[in-house]
Amino acid sequence: MPTVSMTVNGKRVSAEVEGRTLLVELLREHLGLTGTHVGCDTTQCGCCTVHLNGTGVKSCTVLAASCEGATITTIEGLATEGKLHPMQEAFREHHALQCGFCTPGMIMSAVDIVRRKGNDLDERTIREQLEGNICRCTGYHNIVIAIQSGAAAMKQSRPSGAPPG
């Protein structure tokens, strides 16, 4: 079995995986990082979204072996020094969740939207850019509000506007 090494949330990790092992399986089952969820397992719902070398991807459709040498950020890696990331804080503040299952993917995707589209986001942009994430509670209203607020807050907390991960 191939061994893969990568940096996950700032820590170097190595694991023996099968060729078919998915990144999300490595995160959840080998590393115990169960914040990354598996919803549909068919590249549609986005619950498994993580950042691979700074870019949002659906980790149910990435091979773990493909991530040799990569830098991965999961929902567990967003908060720093015990303080919620501005996007997490915005989701809390605006109650942008109902059952909470899609939330980790929503937040990771939201941070990726800020990376691609900047901090000043209008509702339409957010809704379009959130197409890869499904909330089966249909609680999009507050999610959109939270992302708009979180994106603006990220600018204040990081003058460069550069998201982490």
Binding site: E18, T43, T61, L63, S66, E68, R124, G132
Partner: protein
Amino acid sequence: MYDFEYHKPKSLDDAAATLSQHEDFKLLAGGMSLLPALKLRLARYSGLVDLGALGQLRGIRREGDEIVIGAMTPHAEVADSAAVARAIPALAALAGGIGDPLVRNRGTLGGSIANADPAADYPAGVLGLGATVVTTRRTIAADKFFIGMFETVLEPREIITEVRFPIVEAAAYSKFRQPASRFALVGVFVARTRGGVRVAVTGAAPSVFRFKEAEEALTKQFDSTALDAITIAAAGLNSDIHASAEYRAHCVMVMTKRAVAKAANVPSPCNERGRVRQGATMSVNINTPSPGSSAGERGSTYR
């Protein structure tokens, strides 16, 4: 997903050598179609050869009258490329309408056209623009590249390295997307070139194809009214749970007219909501889409 051997070659030569040693190995690009197919056990290979380490296959450059895009370039890079937006905005818009943003971060041009999904967007752009597919062995004209459902002329050990897109006078892609999958129920790419107009249709038939009758009419008169007397036969078109062949035939005409109107930068006789308003007075200005007007159509551009 059945297990397989995993290889990640460091060079194109290594990749080609690994493929030639193992008949049943498959190339892995972004994996956005291949991995789901493996997970559903719709496909099975004894090994995958991951092209992810070959940085030379990734990138976008302008060379003379062409935009050259590396096979491993993700859709998001094409969608966001200033060079593509300047030279062939319709291609940037097409790439920006594939799947969803997270899929576009990972899926690649080479992977898409090698897979040749009958409802994929890129085949319409490649065929519509008359692009050239460059492989480790040869260059292949788009007209010769796609030969059937999930079928191209690529040989088992041949690897796409880049695609060369000619810069044309005007072009647009109009897509009626299946809202759940975001694949094209019907997508039409129209390009006005010095040699005439090209019209490529995806999603409607087992393979992307050129709509020759429309090309001839549009070459004489590049205006959607030139298509008023033309229809396309439903026979041979796809029919499934999402749309009958007759519906797709109708959609081909609507999407072609919309693409022509966009390429010509005039209002379309077919409005953005999907209804055909033949002979009706223009009431929709396609240059100022209202909120939600993109619901049935993605990847449009004006030029």
